[in-house]
Amino acid sequence: MSEIRIQTSDFDPGAEIAALNDLSGSIGAIASFVGLVRGDGGLIAMTLDHYPGMCEREIAAHVAEAKSRWPIAGLRIVHRVGRLTPGERIVFVGVASAHRQAAFHAAEFLMDYLKTSAPFWKREERESGETWVETRAQDDESVKRWR
């Protein structure tokens, strides 16, 4: 009922939602999120590095936390790594639940985690050169509200 994938290739949001679309009549809600690379500040590309194995384990631990907090019938996370250019999809989170608020909140909780605390490292390419992104305080705030 949950699937977590880390991959370099693109994904199809419609196919991911279809996989969550349980036709049994027991779910009433599928909340989903697609994250895209923004071309802010002349970004040419970003490259995501990750720790294979540890990354999946840490995400799975947060999926388990989400399941303990909200009634979740199905959950899918796809996260891309490697070099991505503006407009490209980075991440998909989809949550199926009996209830819409549970689906929304679990998806938002997991996205806040993935964007701030998941074991990824970002390198940004601009005309001026390449830099590793540092941890952002604002995003840490978005995680704290779930504590």
């Binding site: 994250g35 995501l48 720790y51 996260h79 590793w132 992104v133």
Partner: protein
């Protein structure tokens, strides 16, 4: 002992992973760092400011005084930035 490096740690050291066999006296992450710093300028640059680094022992976030042994997988990386 398997070592993994990510992000700029990997770039400074120049390899993404390696197997090392430090002397028996290397019983903690801190001692491993001292051992590695003596291996070359890349290592010295990567480990110059340990406050800028995080470490995982066997894929678990760990403290620098954590005990380590020859069969452990130890990873060094900057604070995660998320996806």
């Amino acid at each position: 002992m398997k070592l993994l490096y990510f992000a700029w740690v990997r770039q400074k050291i120049g390899v993404s992973e390696e197997d090392v066999s430090p002397p028996d006296s290397v019983t903690s992450v801190s001692k491993l760092i001292d051992f590695l710093k003596a291996r070359g300028v890349g290592y010295e640059a990567a480990f110059r400011d340990v406050k800028a680094l995080r470490v995982a022992v066997n894929q678990q976030h760990s403290a620098f005084d954590a005990a380590i042994g020859p069969n452990d997988e130890i990873a060094f990386f900057p604070p995660v930035t998320g996806g």
